[in-house]
């Protein structure tokens, strides 16, 4: 069973969480007119075998959005943090 350690609630079954997909995809600014950037945002995914940064929402708990780093090859959870924090860090990177 996949279990996700929520930073607020502690470790819970993944049935309490809802998957939100690849967290590295960046939505273009709403006034961005580049078709290419919107195309990439809507349709293209890295889809790696290995570490994958992805959104999960703890819908059956604190309802926070999280960014989980998980190995798609063996389901091992490598890192979990609140999405708000993760996004701020990503912007500083």
């Amino acid at each position: 069973m996949l279990r996700i350690p929520c930073p607020f609630c502690g470790e819970r079954d993944h049935a309490e969480f809802s998957y939100g997909g690849d967290a590295r995809v960046q939505r273009p600014a709403l006034d961005d007119r580049s078709e290419e950037r919107w195309y990439r945002y809507v349709f293209l995914r890295d889809n790696p075998r290995g570490p994958h940064r992805e959104f999960w929402q703890h819908v059956g708990g604190c309802r926070a959005w999280l960014v989980v780093e998980r190995d798609t090859g063996n389901h091992e959870i490598l890192d979990v943090r609140f999405a708000a924090d993760a996004m701020k860090e990503a912007q500083c990177e």
């Binding site: 997909g21 195309y39 889809n47 798609t72 090859g73 389901h75």
Partner: protein
């Protein structure tokens, strides 16, 4: 390589079945092929077979990193049908169905096609109307479809919960009688043997690790058994499409997800058709050995692990009991997972790529087994002519950019929802 026949079976039986010849040669890789197919699943093998049979291109290798039948071709729930409803899909899957109907003879290998009928339940009056619309579309394309009322259905499929207390009461069903199941391993072995007989080299335990390019054109592949030159390369690696295509610099509208399947202990005949639940995702049939074979939804997150988690097991068991409560007495014998190449619109890609002479076959989601013959047929055509067959012309890579997705489920660009 000898033909299989009733007489051969008889004479080999007299000798205790001890001296059957191998079904295909364990070929050594040559320096160069006219066409290299990457991936020895159903689609790769069918492509190689039709390249030789339909186009006379026999200097072909199929490179498989594992063994023949180890991928999704040997992991699926074996349902074949052509009850699709939107442009692009409808004619393609019907052509596949027609090829299925002649496949055992064509391959000289019994793929055990069983046209037992595919019954999709309706659980509301509105869903019956949606089924009628689907049936009309199918019939307008010359595909068999029937609508059964609840009473008619009950006479044909007695062992479901028809009570009004059922959580999702059964109102009726849409039936495709020519649909059914086929033996998945036999499809892989049959295509492999038939391709081998026409001169195709089937090379197992040979992983493609990169592509050789010259001036915007692919000229070969790097493999764990050395470099192999190629006039053209076709990728048919299903769940691993993104990983392989990345090596050629392609970014794809695909996510890999895990889909699980289940088999119970064997019992006497109970379910004669393929039965599909209409108020959730669940499908069930009975194998020739007597086990009930069934499956449901994706687990719902990216995965290459070939194994799933308990919530889906739970959900599938709940649906099984909702439509047929007596199944609670059965024990599960086995369950497993496969890696699904889910596209952003739920439909496949069979197309040229930006790299000259490199072709892509993938994005089969969880419906690629039924597509195997037509996929091989049209992919072989695409490679032989460097241009698509009319049946796969809509399955381009550019359709996402151009806004002409083929979204049968109407789920939008969320791969896990198709």
């Amino acid at each position: 390589m000898k033909r299989y026949s009733a007489w051969k079976l008889f004479t080999h039986a007299l000798r205790g079945h001890k001296d059957w010849p191998e079904a295909w040669r364990a070929a050594e890789p040559k320096k160069h092929y006219d066409v290299v197919i990457v991936g020895g699943g159903g689609h790769g093998l069918a492509t190689a077979y039709y390249l030789a049979r339909n186009h006379g291109i026999t200097n072909v290798a199929v490179l498989e990193r594992g063994w023949i039948g180890g991928g999704n071709v040997g992991r699926n729930t074996t349902i074949v049908r052509s009850n699709y409803m939107i442009d692009g899909n409808t004619p393609f899957y019907e052509w596949s169905m027609k090829l299925w109907e002649g496949l055992s003879h064509d391959l000289n290998f019994n793929v055990m096609l069983s046209q037992r009928g595919h019954v999709m339940l309706a659980h509301s009056a509105d869903q019956m109307q949606a089924h009628v619309r689907r049936a009309n579309t199918m019939r307008a394309h010359g595909i068999d479809a029937e609508i059964l009322s609840r009473d008619e259905l009950r006479r044909e499929v007695p062992d479901l919960d028809y009570s009004d207390e059922a959580r999702f009461p059964i109102h009726g069903a849409i039936v495709q009688r020519r649909a059914g199941t086929a033996r998945h391993d036999a499809v892989a072995w049959g295509y492999a043997r038939a391709a081998d007989r026409l001169g195709v080299d089937i090379i197992e335990h040979c992983e493609v690790t990169g592509f050789v390019e010259e001036g915007g054109r692919v000229t070969g592949v790097e493999t764990t058994r050395g470099r192999i030159g190629a006039g053209a390369v076709g990728m048919a690696v299903a769940g691993h499409t993104s990983e392989l295509a990345r090596k050629a610099g392609l970014e794809l509208p695909i996510e890999s997800h895990v889909l699980q399947a289940f088999v119970t202990e064997g019992i006497k005949p109970l379910i004669d058709q393929v039965i599909v639940f209409g108020a959730g995702h669940f499908y069930i049939s009975q194998s020739d050995k007597g086990g009930l074979v069934f499956g449901g939804d994706l687990d719902g997150y990216n995965s290459y692990a070939q194994r799933g988690n308990l919530p889906v097991v739970h959900n599938v068991a709940e649906i099984a009991l909702a439509i047929a409560p007596h199944l609670s007495r059965l024990r599960l014998l086995r369950h497993w997972g496969g890696v699904m190449d889910m596209t952003m619109d739920g439909s496949p890609i069979i197309a040229r790529t930006p790299l000259d002479r490199l072709y892509l076959n993938g994005g089969w989601c969880y419906g690629g087994f039924k597509a195997t013959p037509a996929s091989g047929w049209t992919f072989a055509h695409t490679i032989a002519h460097d241009a698509p067959h009319e049946l796969n012309a809509p399955f381009t890579l550019d359709r996402f950019r151009e806004g002409v997705q083929i979204d049968e489920g109407g789920s939008g660009p969320v791969p896990g929802h198709h």
